[in-house]
């Protein structure tokens, strides 16, 4: 097995894909969005509870997808829980950079280290959309006006 593949399917990715964190729904979510990749049929739904101070108090996701998309959603949920909304947006920018082969210069060292597990995707351009699906859904959820996408 080649090195790129080993990096892509490293232990932490496989672990998150087998045991996704925060998998399920939130009954008290006030933000919600669905992501869908029409090319492969992968789906993800993101549930957020954002409090009055713009902090993501709780997060959950569910869906069907490949190891990359599930692991990415799971890693994301771990990172974002407890963060402020604007931090989440910075993290997303850094993440998108990393999976496209960039540096993620705006990320803190800790965050970069954590997200680097996903950087292996950059060698697999056809899989980048799998990695970004959950993040794009998260962005839609945050940008939703809190009504249409709220449950």
């Amino acid at each position: 097995m080649d090195a790129h593949l080993r990096e892509l399917y490293q232990e932490i990715i496989l672990d998150h894909s087998r045991h996704p964190r925060h998998f399920g729904t939130l009954t008290d979510a006030n933000h919600r969005a669905d992501g869908f990749n029409p090319l492969c049929g992968d789906k993800v739904s993101i549930y957020l509870k954002v409090n009055g101070e713009d902090r993501i108090e709780d997060i959950a996701f569910e869906g069907k997808g490949c190891a990359i998309s599930v692991a990415s959603a799971s890693l994301m949920s771990e990172m974002l829980k407890g963060r402020k909304v604007d931090e989440a947006e910075t993290l997303m920018g850094g993440f998108l950079e990393l999976v496209k082969g960039g540096e993620g210069a705006d990320l803190s060292d800790d965050d970069r280290e954590y997200l680097e597990a996903m950087a292996g995707v950059s060698a697999f351009p056809m899989r980048v959309k799998s990695a970004t699906l959950a993040w794009h859904a998260m962005k839609s959820a945050l940008e939703g006006d809190g009504t249409a996408k709220t449950e």
């Binding site: 097995m1 492969c40 049929g41 992968d42 069907k64 997808g65 990359i68 899989r127």
Partner: protein, 414 residues
């Protein structure tokens, strides 16, 4: 020359592979194992040489010109139409309409044949294993004209019972659109029987032959089908070209599809009259180079022998199925008795996209996804499958490479 070529009865796959230069390439440092033929086939040298030769010696626009090159190009282009007629055993050359692909051919029938005949509430019968190209044009008629779609189910093995078509046809049925071979399950449908059943009830039938026409002989007169569709790029020919076969009487009764040059009789400020079929349906400059290329591809396919190629491909597919089934945790999707060289499968615990990514690193190209058959995915309860599909140049060693690569994937995910 390989030793095999001394034995004329044997299928000399190594010699055939020499016709496809791309097969000699490597991918990620491994020999390419191209098993994505149902998506599109590679092109033999014979096709590319014919195209280059045509462009280098006889190219021009067709039909309207008096000059030598225009006459030469028109001859080549119309001879290609004759070639397709023979390939399908159609009765007349003017039953062959060039389109830009299989998808356009189906849209043409939906729009020029069925749409003007349709009343709200009229029904179109189709199977759950259709490709999106044989679903969405009918959904258009539902959205825009209030037609309703009646779906014929398949068995868990992926078989389609012609009696289920009979049962689906009701008093409001106006059309049957059915695949001749599923691009996911590999199922060959009993098309002749389906046509018989539909015709007994006075209903015309369109067959989507985009896959079936690649794997064995097709005889539209024997099938007695009203419309038959092929696409060039899966037939070892160019992209940008497809074929609609339609009975003369239907074509004569159909309204034009696109408007433009070539398809008219006379245009004035106030009015327009239309040419006879097939030109009525071929607006604008046609795919001239592609038609010449497709004819060369059909020549190539027949030089190998369509039945011989199909036998070879099917043997590879059956070998792949047997070996994959022998692995733990692999589930075949589609086990019809009459099945072509398409093998869809699921690897328990490994999503098709992850599998395809790992296979790719081993040089093995398979397709992963819904294969433009979301209705079928829903029916089978899966989001995506991996699909290995075989062409006339694949080998037993490539089957084994596929199976080895699947085992590597299982180790990654163990």
């Amino acid at each position: 020359m390989s030793a095999l070529s001394l034995k004329p009865h044997l299928y000399d796959v190594e010699a055939i592979r020499q016709d496809f230069p791309i097969l000699a390439r490597e991918v990620h440092g491994r020999p390419l194992v191209y098993l994505d033929n149902a998506a599109s086939a590679q092109k033999p040298k014979q096709v590319m040489n014919k195209i280059t030769d045509f462009v280098t010696t006889e190219y021009s626009n067709v039909h309207r010109g008096v000059h030598f090159l225009s006459a030469a190009a028109t001859d080549r282009y119309e001879a290609a139409r004759g070639r397709v007629k023979t390939f399908l055993n159609a009765a007349h050359e003017d039953e062959i309409v060039w389109t830009r692909g299989g998808t356009e051919a189906i849209n043409l029938v939906a729009s020029s044949f069925l749409s003007p005949r349709l009343e709200p509430g009229d029904e179109i019968v189709l199977s759950v294993m259709e490709h999106h190209s044989n679903i969405v044009p009918w959904h258009f008629l539902r959205e825009r004209q209030g037609a309703s779609l009646r779906w014929v189910d398949v068995s868990d093995d992926g078989e389609l019972d012609p009696e289920d078509v009979a049962r689906a046809i009701g008093p409001n049925t106006k059309f049957v659109a059915i695949t001749h071979m599923s691009n996911v399950l590999g199922t060959h449908t009993a098309l002749k029987e389906i046509v018989r059943i539909a015709h007994e009830r006075g209903i015309p039938v369109l067959a989507d032959g985009c896959q079936a026409s690649v794997h064995g002989k097709v005889d539209v007169r024997d099938l007695d089908v009203d419309f038959y569709v092929m696409t060039g790029h899966k037939l070892y020919g160019p992209t940008g070209i497809g074929v609609l076969y339609a009975r003369k009487a239907h074509l004569k009764a159909m309204r034009p599809y696109q408007g433009g040059g070539e398809m008219i009789r006379e245009v004035t400020k106030a009015n327009v009259t239309y040419a006879e079929p097939p030109m009525r349906f071929e607006a604008g400059t046609p795919p001239i180079i592609e038609a010449v290329g497709l004819a060369a591809a059909l020549d190539y396919l027949d030089s190998i022998g369509r039945d011989a190629a199909a036998a070879h491909e099917n043997a590879l597919a059956r070998r792949a199925e047997a070996k994959l089934k022998a692995l733990n945790g692999v589930r075949l999707i589609g086990e019809a008795r009459d099945k072509g060289p398409i093998v869809s499968f699921e690897t328990i615990g490994i999503h098709a996209h992850d599998l395809a990514t790992i296979l790719d690193r081993e040089g093995v190209a398979v397709r992963a996804g819904h294969h433009c058959a979301q209705v079928l995915m829903e029916r089978c309860g899966v989001v995506a499958t991996a699909r290995a599909s075989f062409g006339l140049y694949n080998t037993e060693a490539e089957v084994d490479a596929l199976v080895d690569a699947v085992q590597i994937a299982r180790k990654v995910f163990a």
